[in-house]
Amino acid sequence: MNPTRLTRSVGWAVICFLVLPITIVFPVSLTDKRYLSLPEEGISFKHYVNLFGSAEWLGSIGQSLYIGVVATAISVTAGTLCAIGCWRLSSRAGEAVRAMMLVPIVVPTIVYALGIYRFWVDLRLLDTYTGVILVHAVTGIPYVVVTVSTALAGFDARLEQAARNLGASAFQTLRRVVLPGILPGVVSGAIFAFIHSWDELVIVLFIASRAVFTLPRRIWDGINEHLDPTMAAVATIMIALTAVLLVLDLRMRRRKEG
């Protein structure tokens, strides 16, 4: 069936709605004014210069990278092991655990953040790296469980039996046979878990104050306090990084299929 004019237009409209609001930050980041606006008299890179000269912005980028990398490492380890465990059970129990793992995605973030806040008060984890990393790691697990479970669905269980039969212990089998087989799923999960931590704002607003100041939070404060176009420059960089990661993910999947 050929797409009609109408479906084609609707399709393009949806794409525009999705993409155009994102692209607006590029011209804004190049404005020659000192407030959020489109360039009027010329293009200027001064906000990028400002960004890379600002200890506050650079500090936030560093914090976000650090938190993102550590949280991703934890999410990937826990999520992969969880997915493999569910795959082994391959019964209703496995299905139930997998469904439960999706709770952090399903529950509204603000509800989740409130719960974590109360909990972290008691554990004295408020405004600590450990606290933020733990939350980001836990909320990143679902992405890993989903991508790794998908990879495992296409993994031949006989390979695992073959490895055990050939004398490999359960751990050797995991490391030498199962993990290489599901690696694309693991990396996909890692990319999504990192992006999740990289732009997570709501929970950070609740559990961090002075010591931990991630990049999304710096942008949020910037918008609330003064409409500095440096934010647009930061947003451009964030979008670029996210896009690079997604393209990486896409290429890896294609390589696996090819």
């Binding site: 031949d156 006989r158 390979l159 039996q161 073959a162 490895a163 055990r164 039969n165 050939l166 004398g167 490999a168 212990s169 050797q172 030498r176 046979v177 290489p180 087989g181």
Partner: protein
Amino acid sequence: MAGLQELSLDGLSKHYGTVAALDGVSLSIARGEFLTLLGPSGSGKTTMLMAIAGFVTPTGGRILLNGQPIQHLPPDKRNFGMVFQGYALFPHLTVARNIAFPLEVRGMPKSEIDRKVGDALGLVQLGALADRLPRQLSGGQQQRVALARALVFSPHLLLLDEPLSALDRKLRADMQIELKAFHRKVGLTFVYVTHDQDEALSMSDRVAILRDGRLLQLGTPSELYERPATRFVAEFLGRSNFLAGKVEQTSADGFVFRCGSELFVQLGPERKPDVGTAVLVALRPERIRPVEPGSQLVNILDGTIAEFSYLGTAFHLLVDTAVGRLAVTVPTWRHGAPPVIGSKITLGWDADASIRVEQD
């Protein structure tokens, strides 16, 4: 090469709830033997192999290796080689690394691994393909890699789970011969699972016939074919006619039984029934031959040809007789002119051509 080992199963059972996948199977496998587990799907043959390999935990009975129970050992501690259905080669490793895998996980020194992998590649004549990935190989080559990988660590015995089922007919026949020759060359005990009767008959030293989780009969291919114990075995291995009748008279080495209006003589070493008992006699189509009317052969039966098919080396006839429709195979060279449907024919067979079987 590790010394040859003796494996035996003692009342091995596997129950899934109330369903018995394996129901008290006992047998012992001689050193260096090629034993085939044969049965239709759901007969328990694969469950049995998986129990030996350690992937299925039996709910009863024991598995003994040289008299030592091993049913609680995990698969990686049993040192049994296995060729899986579909081969289960590791797709991310080259041929050489696939074969090196069992040696690497045993922590063998690199130089020794290289030497053994080289030997194994030579054994299956795949030296030139050492650096290929499994997906770049043909089905037959993949099978040889799987064999080399299963043998390189000097296993106690080799388990094969329908290894030829993925191959086409022609290649399958070639690989049967190759496997058989291979078995002779390495001298290891082979336990082979298949549902293909021809494969079982042509390759094995002994065949175990399984049905519904039970061992029906164990014997050499010719014993099973010539002297099936039950109707199922006779039907499962090749084709057979069955004559149901009542014993009229017994003698030292056989009995006479009545089948409808006809009387037949049956001679054989099997246990003699009492006069009056119901018996079932199996008669292979190739043991029946067309004879002249009034022949002196002990068992004679008149009939009419109902169907025939030409098989190249033989004609296959279906003949309507007083005791029902019988299948008869006649070598082409013996028959002369092609048979004519509807024409009269007289059939005959020797008294020791048939065998009494149990109804099951």
